[in-house]
């Protein structure tokens, strides 16, 4: 197939199930009927996709929700916590 713009030769690629013809010369892209809509739909899905759910950390069903960050530092030195770490 020849490029409708510059008459260069076009090469076919497939990206996520969409056929794309790209001109080797001017890099112009030719889409078949409906393929622009398919790409647009895929793009909006990509942007709308929620970030991977953090989910409950691995643990028992009855576990406390664990918050990240320096949440644990303030217990350092707390007497009952240190006592518990070291005693029966």
């Amino acid at each position: 197939m020849q490029c409708p713009k510059c008459r260069g030769s076009m090469r076919t690629y497939e990206r996520n199930g969409v056929h794309i013809e790209q001109c080797d010369n001017c890099r112009g892209i030719f889409l078949d009927y409906g393929e622009l809509e398919t790409l647009t739909r895929m793009e909006s899905q990509y942007h709308a996709a929620p970030p991977p759910a953090p989910g409950p950390g691995p643990g028992p069903a009855w576990g406390a929700p664990h918050h990240g960050g320096g949440h644990y530092g303030h217990r350092r030195g707390q007497r009952s916590w240190v006592g518990m770490l070291f005693s029966t």
């Binding site: 643990g59 406390a64 005693s87």
Partner: protein
């Protein structure tokens, strides 16, 4: 002669020199250090008949490099109490950030302990974990809402699934490590045959209560699994085996917290309260 003088004399007989120093511990146990020798008078409650094979196990070559070996493989007696004699070691520093504690080393030692073939062991009694939890709950005074919750959580603990028994420490926490030329497990009082997941259950309970940072828990668990520790089976989810013992330890820790607060005439603090909240989630789970 008082018990302390007797213990100091025993320490001297095993080469302990210098001023005897009492080591703070449980109220029913006396630990005295004299130079390089530590002498322990066990609780009057404890069965000396159970202590004998436990001490033999710690003295056996099969646990060399895993458990501290006693200086004297026989149980001695002083003031009507069972007494054992040990080389001194350096405990984990309580002043340091718990993050810097030797969690991995503890986990690796437990993994090696659990893997000791029982054919190399003397006949041992049951490990002390489950009985400890029951005793802690029974010791709680009062019948307020917190006590009722802890008792209910204990009563509703699921029946543990029958498991082939392995060599189990029975009461593991950071105070059960000492360093000599390497880290070693100490305290044979609860050593015996049992479900080894109980040895991981106290850190698991801390983690599930939101007290132990996930990174520290993962270091501990990761080191145990990487050392081939057998307590958690082959599955992907370590909590399948951990769930019941971690519930039991949560209940035990909450009960101990209630007793401590009662003894000191104070309310539960934030840390202790998080264990009660854990009990609350357990009864709702």
């Amino acid at each position: 002669m008082g018990l302390e003088e007797e213990l100091a004399g025993i320490a001297a007989a095993y080469g302990g020199a210098g001023e005897p120093v009492l080591h703070p511990t449980r109220t029913d146990v006396v630990v005295l250090r004299r130079g390089e020798v530590v002498v322990k008078a066990h609780s009057a409650r404890d069965d000396a008949g159970d202590l004998r094979p436990r001490l033999k196990a710690a003295a056996s070559a099969a646990v060399s490099g895993v458990m501290l070996a006693p200086l004297e493989p026989e149980v001695l007696s002083a003031g009507g109490r069972a007494v054992t004699v040990w080389p001194a070691g350096r405990p984990v520093a309580q002043e340091d950030d718990p993050v810097d504690a030797p969690w991995e080393e503890g986990a690796r030692l437990l993994a090696r302990l659990h893997a000791v073939p029982l054919t190399l062991m003397p006949g041992l009694p049951a490990a002390g974990g489950p009985a400890r939890a029951a005793r802690a709950v029974a010791r709680m005074p009062g019948d307020g809402p917190v006590e009722q919750l802890v008792r209910r959580a204990f009563k509703e603990l699921p029946e543990p699934r029958p498991m082939p028994a392995l060599l189990t420490h029975g009461d593991w926490h950071l105070g059960q490590l000492v360093h000599r030329d390497r880290w070693l497990l100490i305290d044979v009082d609860d050593l015996g045959l049992g479900d080894p997941a109980w040895d991981l259950a106290r850190p698991a309970a801390w983690y599930a209560a939101g007290l132990l940072a996930p990174t520290v828990w993962e270091r501990f668990l990761g080191a145990y699994l990487a050392s081939g520790g057998p307590a958690l089976g082959q599955g992907d989810d370590p909590w399948q085996r951990l769930d019941v013992p971690a519930r039991a330890l949560t209940v035990q820790l909450a009960a101990v917290a209630v007793v401590n607060a009662w003894r000191e005439h104070r309310e539960l603090d934030e840390v202790e309260h998080s264990l009660v909240e854990s009990c609350n989630r357990i009864v709702r789970a």
